[in-house]
């Protein structure tokens, strides 16, 4: 039985759930985009702040959730990402869509899915969170009516996500059949008592990997990513790239670290193959892209591959590296999509690299921010991306997984090509037909402000990340 004292442990989740309902009711009373946006912002902020009121330590909320430092950290991260995306959505939706209020219900609900996922300690809660996250995403991806590509990619995501969910469910069933438990600690106990992994268990794990790999867009399951990124509106793509992937990654860490699933050689090998393929293919396929959202999609595949290196190190340091890199990745991706949103106009988004030609001479600050973002994604010093990659490399080197480390280096070398291409275009000569195009959506407030903030974060984490590292070191050892 969950008592009222236990409720404060899931305060952020409750706030977001409540906010979704209030937004829905407020729409029924009166439509007001400004109010809805503001209210959503406030509730994301409240969710992030409410984490401070959760007592320190690790608490179980029934056997389904566990609220610990790791979960709280990710809660804050997701709430902040939600906040940023809400801010970025306001002018974008104003310009491109007439009926905007429902967008925020869906955004809040899918964030709720992510927020419950990061504290899940049980397959039931994980699966439910995953569905909450996905179902809202189907609608979010197809939200823009005037974009046929949006509806198409929404359907595509729906079908593929349903298939992957069914794999996941079957996998969970097989694991249950073998261990008799659905909660992670029970599974761990069941495993340690039986000693070796049975075929059924491995088959179950493999299917779970398929499901999770799909959500994280790791390589053999990545085919949906570029289409969905390109088809969905830019704020939603940002959401898919950050919140959705990050939450699943958090559960992946919890699942495999707390059950010890990675200690099996076969499972480890499978993940190594997935990681290597993601790093190489992600970066390789990004090379030829002209569409910046597809480029970011492939680059995010590569980045998730980098994260797997830290995941496969199975050490405290790997855990910290993964967490730190995820923060860096969130910041970089949000800023990258933020720039795309800023540059979009009423007719459409600034999709093509050529849309950014000569940006530096027109909007030097925006270009400087975008350059920093690209350099951070590429992992160049003075930006957070460098320290993130350094952390990943230390994690990999510590346990001597040389193959992964070398692939990481090689693929970030490949990555440089396309990040630099974007940068070079921004510094190239001016665009001829700019006079005919519409003015961009981006406004100094709040859009420019958010971008500047993300930009400063990238620099801050890149130059003096001690405070962040300290927090991460505190929370990242809790999980094991």
């Amino acid at each position: 039985m969950i008592s009222l004292t236990g409720l404060n442990l899931i305060l952020p989740q409750l706030i977001i759930a409540l906010a979704a309902i209030i937004v829905m009711l407020s729409i029924a009373v009166k439509r007001c985009h400004r109010f809805t946006n503001l209210f959503t912002l406030l509730s994301f902020a409240a969710a992030a702040i409410s984490v401070l009121y959760i007592p320190r330590g690790s608490f179980g909320v029934s056997s389904l959730f566990v609220v610990d430092g790791f979960g709280k950290f990710f809660t804050v991260l997701i709430a902040c990402a939600g906040f940023v995306i809400t801010l970025m959505s306001y002018h974008y939706l104003n310009a491109r869509e007439k009926r905007n209020e429902e967008y925020y219900i869906l955004l809040l609900l899918s964030s709720l899915g992510a927020l419950t996922m990061v504290i899940s300690n049980h397959f039931v809660s994980f699966f439910l969170s995953l569905e909450v996250l996905s179902v809202s995403l189907y609608a979010l991806i197809g939200y823009l009516k005037e974009e046929p590509a949006g509806i198409e990619s929404g359907i595509k995501y729906l079908v593929l996500a349903a298939v992957s969910s069914s794999f996941l469910l079957f996998g969970i069933a097989l694991i249950y059949m073998q261990t008799g438990h659905l909660d992670l600690s029970g599974i761990a106990a069941g495993l340690s008592s039986s000693g070796e992994f049975s075929g059924v268990f491995i088959a179950g794990l493999a299917m779970v990997i398929v499901g999770i790999g799909f959500k994280m867009a790791l390589v053999p399951f990545h085919l949906w990513t570029p289409d969905i990124y390109a088809g969905a509106s830019a704020p939603v793509s940002a959401f898919v790239a950050t919140v959705s992937k990050g939450a699943v990654f958090a559960f992946l860490l919890r699942l495999f670290y707390s059950t010890g699933g990675l200690e099996n050689k076969n499972v480890w090998t499978v993940f190594t193959i997935i990681a290597v393929a993601s790093m190489l293919f992600g970066n390789w396929l990004a090379l030829r892209q002209q569409n910046i959202k597809r480029l970011l999609a492939y680059s995010s595949i590569g980045h998730l591959g980098y994260l797997m290196v830290a995941f496969l190190a199975i050490t405290d340091r790997g855990m910290q590296a993964a967490t730190f890199y995820l923060v860096v990745y969130f910041t970089g991706m949000l800023a990258a999509f933020g720039t795309v949103i800023y540059m979009s106009n009423k007719k459409g988004e600034a999709l093509y690299i050529d849309d950014y030609r000569g940006l530096f001479w027109k909007k030097p600050w925006l270009a400087a921010i975008f350059t920093t973002v690209m350099l951070s994604l590429a992992g160049i010093p003075l930006t957070a991306g460098f320290l993130g990659k350094l952390y990943l490399l230390t994690a990999g080197t510590e346990v001597g997984i040389w193959l992964l480390v070398i692939v990481l280096v090689v693929s970030s070398g490949i990555g440089l090509f396309y990040y630099l291409r974007v940068v070079a275009v921004m510094f190239a000569g001016k665009n001829e037909n700019e006079a005919s195009s519409e003015p961009v959506i981006g406004k100094i407030f709040p859009h420019g402000l958010v971008l500047t903030l993300l930009f400063l974060l990238l620099l801050w984490f890149g130059v003096y990340p001690s405070s962040l590292l300290e927090i991460i070191q505190q929370i990242a050892s809790v999980i094991r």
């Binding site: 969950i2 829905m24 439910l128």
Partner: protein
Amino acid sequence: MSITLILFWFLSVLALFSAAMVVASKNPVYSVLWLILVFFAISGHYLLLNAQFLAIVNIIVYAGAIMVLFLFVIMLMNLNKSNEPKRNKWLNLAGVLAGGCLLLVLVAALKNAETKATLAETGTGNIGLIENLGKALFTDYVVPFEISSVLFLSAMVGAVVLGKKESSPDTAGQSGKSSEK
């Protein structure tokens, strides 16, 4: 061979066969009808496991409500002619191969599995009884239960958003309200 076992095998075969027919039928209306049969067979399994409540709910909700809705939608959309586009032969072959491989691996994995109990606990379990189910749902699983209600909320909002016809710009504000619920 006890009567339970005979029933178990009968229901299993029925469920698998109907499921295969759902996929194989050319006419979508037949597919839905076969699907209803699948649900009935599964409800039979629930009964064998002493989960009467689940069995009834399954029939009422799935076989009754949802499938009837499905049927209506299909009939309204007049899909009974098979007009699906020609698919690539090689793609079909690759699909069959991949699916076959997966089946092979799973069968291999399950063949040597030591299951906890060789026989299903027919008629002995009591988790499916309405009282126990209610207790479980409202004590241990109350949070996921609430989350699943949120899941329906998001599905509903999503369906409304996607399904709503785009109205002309000047009436957008008024019509939005009425179509909400």
